[in-house]
């Protein structure tokens, strides 16, 4: 990708060195309860997926949302993917369907960045749900690239 790339997902932006606000004291424990985490690598048969509340996060989200572990990963089983660069996205759809029908997950929360191409992850989740026999609540949370704030949070099915 060249410097002049106009894709908002790849456009260069410098956030400067503004002082970061927020409490920095203390150490927080990791909320990760499983391995692996990449959507191609995880198996819907894994015990930690059974009846779980699953977080499907775009790769970049964890680097953007300051309190990703505490606010979003806590209590959830996670899978990560990049809808822009990853190959084999048909497999992703099948895996979502299997999580819903076979692992009988309780809910699915999809976290994406605000850039348009990231929205594909939401449609992967929706296609997976449509192909499933069970229906579950699916939530979409969109994170802003600057500051990592929640731009929108809504139930999409």
């Amino acid at each position: 990708m060249s410097k002049e790339c106009e894709c908002p997902g790849a456009k260069m932006q410098d956030f400067g060195k503004e002082e970061v606000k927020g409490a920095e004291e203390g150490k927080r424990a990791s909320q990760l309860r499983q391995w692996p985490v990449q959507l191609h690598l995880v198996s819907p048969e894994a015990p930690y997926f059974q009846k779980a509340d699953v977080l499907l996060s775009a790769d970049c989200v964890a680097y953007s949302a300051g309190d990703f572990h505490k606010e979003y990963m806590k209590g959830k089983t996670i899978a990560i993917a990049c809808p822009k660069l990853d190959e084999g996205q048909e497999t992703y759809i099948e895996k979502i369907t299997s999580l819903i029908d076979d692992a009988k997950i309780n809910t699915l929360t999809v976290m994406t960045m605000e850039v348009p191409c990231c929205g594909v992850l939401v449609s992967i989740a929706q296609k997976g749900l449509q192909a499933a026999k069970r229906k579950i609540p699916v939530k979409s949370i969109v994170i802003g690239i600057r500051g990592g704030n929640v731009l929108s949070e809504e139930w999409i099915s």
Binding site: G75, N106, T107, T109, K135, P137, E154, W155
Partner: protein, 262 residues
């Protein structure tokens, strides 16, 4: 001000009647509430009127209570005020809102059913029996049971807002009982009166749930709880109550064909 924020809404209104007008202005329907023990601060917090409206409302209330006090007027962002918050329910609460739609179609038939009772020379009890069957089997056994046996259990059932909803359910059941008694004893006036009262009660009740109770619940339910509720509601729909939705949809269509689309 703090003392009034922690006072029951009925008490505040009886001391400062102007507060009733202010609440009405924001379409907060607590003024005629049957319970009225919700605290002023909760009444403001629970209604889905948006942060800016909330600030403006609090300003007006404080001014009404202390007319001589210097109260800082909140800065209102015009653009924000112009767009009211759109209600987007979680999937389980959306199921209940959709059930309300069918109940509202029945309520919409009630005035015509009552009119026929009053005007027809030969009284036909069938539509009333049909309406009562819908109310008992669909509105009560199917819908209110989901609320009472499942949804409300996720909250403090002693909370005033839940108590107010439960009171409405009980009052509705007593109207239905009176309708049936009237049918049995051939007291058609009593039938009309209680059927109309039921329709009025439920219209307000559904509005309160759609606009106040459910949005407040959605704000407080965790993702995990939303999933559980959805699963439990689906278990009801696909279990003992399978087919209820379809059956009663058909009944409503019949009633509408007779009373609405003339």
């Amino acid at each position: 001000m703090q003392a009034y924020l922690n006072a029951p809404i009925k008490e505040v209104i009886s001391k400062f009647p102007k507060v009733a007008d202010i609440l009405n202005g924001y379409e907060i329907g607590c003024v005629p509430c049957s319970v009225g023990t919700c605290l002023l601060k909760d009444v403001v917090a629970i209604h889905n009127i948006g942060e800016e409206n909330k600030a403006q409302l609090m300003y007006e209330v404080e001014k009404a209570i202390y007319p001589d006090r210097e109260v800082k007027r909140p800065v209102i962002n015009k653009a924000a005020k112009a767009k009211p918050e759109i209600l987007r329910y979680s999937p389980p609460l959306r199921m209940l809102v959709n059930e309300h739609l069918l109940i509202k179609r029945l309520l919409n038939c009630v005035p015509a059913i009552v009119k026929a009772l009053k005007e027809d020379t030969v009284i036909d009890k069938e539509p009333v029996i049909g309406a009562v069957d819908f109310i008992r089997m669909y509105a009560d056994k199917f819908h209110h049971a989901k609320e009472e046996d499942i949804l409300f259990k996720y909250f403090d059932e002693k909370a005033d807002i839940i108590q107010a909803m439960l009171n409405d359910h009980v009052e509705g059941r007593s109207h239905v009982k009176e309708v049936l008694n009237g049918l049995k004893d051939n007291k058609i006036d009593a039938v009309s009166q209680h059927l109309s009262a039921y329709a009025e009660l439920l219209t307000g009740h559904i509005k309160k749930e759609d606009e106040i109770l459910y949005p407040w619940m959605d704000k407080n339910l965790t993702v995990k709880q939303v999933g559980e509720l959805f699963d439990k509601f689906n278990a009801v729909d696909n279990g003992l109550q399978r087919g209820v939705e379809e059956t009663y949809k058909g009944r409503i269509e019949d009633l509408e064909a007779k009373f609405i689309q003339k």
